[in-house]
């Protein structure tokens, strides 16, 4: 698995929660929860989606590390031991 795989898993989970969002318009360093108007149920479903696709069970205390696309890629890559 590569960082690019992690990124696409994040994007996939995000778009399944908020199908109308255009990922192309998202800056990788902008907090997407606010940007895409995700409520707590949406965000939980996003985290569940990550668990399904990547097998990572993100603890609630670490939700902050999933704030932006970049930080989420970093965090999940570390969890998965992905370096490239």
């Amino acid at each position: 698995m590569t960082r690019e795989d992690v990124r696409s898993a994040i994007v996939k989970s995000l778009t399944s929660v908020a199908p109308e969002v255009d990922i192309a318009t998202l800056s990788p360093d902008v907090a997407f929860r606010h940007e895409f108007d995700l409520d707590s149920m949406d965000f939980l479903n996003f985290v569940v989606g990550l668990h399904t696709s990547l097998g990572v069970d993100v603890p609630e205390a670490d939700y902050g590390k999933l704030a932006t696309l970049d930080s989420a890629v970093d965090y999940l890559s570390t969890c998965l031991g992905v370096t490239a």
């Binding site: 199908p19 108007d37 409520d39 707590s40 939980l44 479903n45 569940v48 668990h51 609630e60």
Partner: protein
């Protein structure tokens, strides 16, 4: 055509999921109806056998119109009963059709095809089926989509939903003498309990504060039944269970408040699972008729939007609605000492014809007690 909420005047039959001769039992989904609030799955209210269908897919008919006739086990001969006993008249007013071709009772539509038809906004009544037994398949829907027989644009849906909400809320403000009470509850303990719970739960079983709020309201309803039920011509009628309507904002605009059934007698885990499923289906446009018509009280959670306190409008014929604001950190006096605490403002709007400030106050106090003892929820 059942009344799927106070703001519904008519619905369009999308498809039959049962055909004459099929045996049905209470709770089975027999049809899909399109409303201002999306496609709703219609559940049957009694056991029996479909005698015949009266309305064909594509027809738009007023609430109260007979959709189909069901022969029940105790009436083996003819006298038909209605598919959906509701407050609406049993005798059908003249059907107002929107004029699509009278499709003979249509063969089955595969679930994938139905989903695709929703996504691609294809009118299923216009799709010719080429699957087994003439059933409509995914390929049929995609072919139809490319030929562009399009249902109303989402923009139209948002506008009609807004008009329907406006009509129901205007009626509520016109007819219901609202009384409003609020209190601010210290939820520090509740959040700490929730954090401990979630820390040891897998992500798929984590609880949201909203679920605890809903459960606390249900608990209060069981203790103070005067706010749980309906206002009718005969006055207040208590709900037969505690069915909590949950206001759910739809992505793209509008909102629905479908019911979670029997919340007071279900465990927190079951309520959490059902709430998650309800939100998902509300946003996907696949709610069930009982969810649209059974709510005995409504809960709205405005905290997500950063609102500190809200005073909501009652959804008729219910007699109360509870609004939660945002959880905020505030200086709070606890046993004579000033401490930072997490607090939330809870309000109840109640129908003064059905109840009064005293009962509503007791109800609010019951919600507070429930929130202060989360482990008992």
């Amino acid at each position: 055509m059942p009344a799927l909420g106070a703001d519904m005047e008519a619905g369009t039959l999308v498809e039959w999921l049962k055909k004459p001769g099929d045996r049905v039992k209470r709770g089975d989904i027999i049809a899909v109806v399109d409303t201002d609030k999306g496609a709703i799955e219609i559940e049957v209210f009694e056991d029996g056998e479909i005698d015949r269908t009266v309305i064909v897919p594509g027809q738009k008919v007023p609430v109260g119109t007979v959709l189909a006739l069901i022969r029940t086990p105790i009436e083996p001969a003819a006298p038909p009963s209605v598919a959906e006993p509701s407050a609406a008249p049993v005798v059908a007013p003249p059907a107002v059709t929107s004029g699509p071709p009278a499709v003979p009772s249509r063969a089955r539509v595969s679930p994938a095809a139905r989903k695709a038809a929703e996504d691609l906004r294809v009118d299923l009544t216009t799709v010719e089926g080429h699957g087994p037994g003439g059933s409509v398949t995914l390929a049929d829907v995609e072919r139809a989509a490319s030929m562009a027989r399009i249902r109303p644009e989402p923009g139209d849906r948002t506008a009609t939903m807004r008009a329907a909400i406006g009509a129901a809320m205007a009626r509520a403000k016109r007819e219901i003498p609202h009384l409003y009470l609020s209190t601010t509850v210290d939820v520090t303990g509740l959040l700490a309990w929730l954090n401990r719970q979630n820390a040891r739960r897998p992500v798929t079983e984590r609880l949201l504060p909203a679920v605890l709020f809903i459960k606390a309201v249900a608990r209060a309803c069981a203790e103070t039944p005067a706010l749980n039920g309906f206002w009718t011509d005969r006055g207040f009628v208590a709900g037969s269970g505690v069915h909590v309507g949950c206001a759910i904002a739809l992505r793209g605009g509008g909102l629905v408040a479908p019911a979670l059934h029997g919340v007071n007698v279900k465990t927190l885990d079951v309520v959490a699972r059902e709430f998650s499923d309800l939100v998902r289906r509300a946003r996907a446009g696949s709610l069930r008729s009982s969810e649209m018509s059974d709510a005995t009280i409504t809960v709205t959670n405005m905290g997500e939007l950063g609102v500190e306190a809200a005073y909501a409008i009652i959804y008729p014929p219910q007699v109360a609605i509870v609004a939660f604001g945002r959880v905020v950190e505030r200086p709070w006096v606890v046993q004579g000492r000033l401490e930072p605490r997490s607090v939330v403002t809870v309000s109840v709007s109640a129908d003064h014809r059905a109840t009064d400030g005293r009962e509503a106050g007791l109800f609010l106090a019951a919600i507070e007690r429930a929130l202060l003892a989360p482990e008992a929820l």
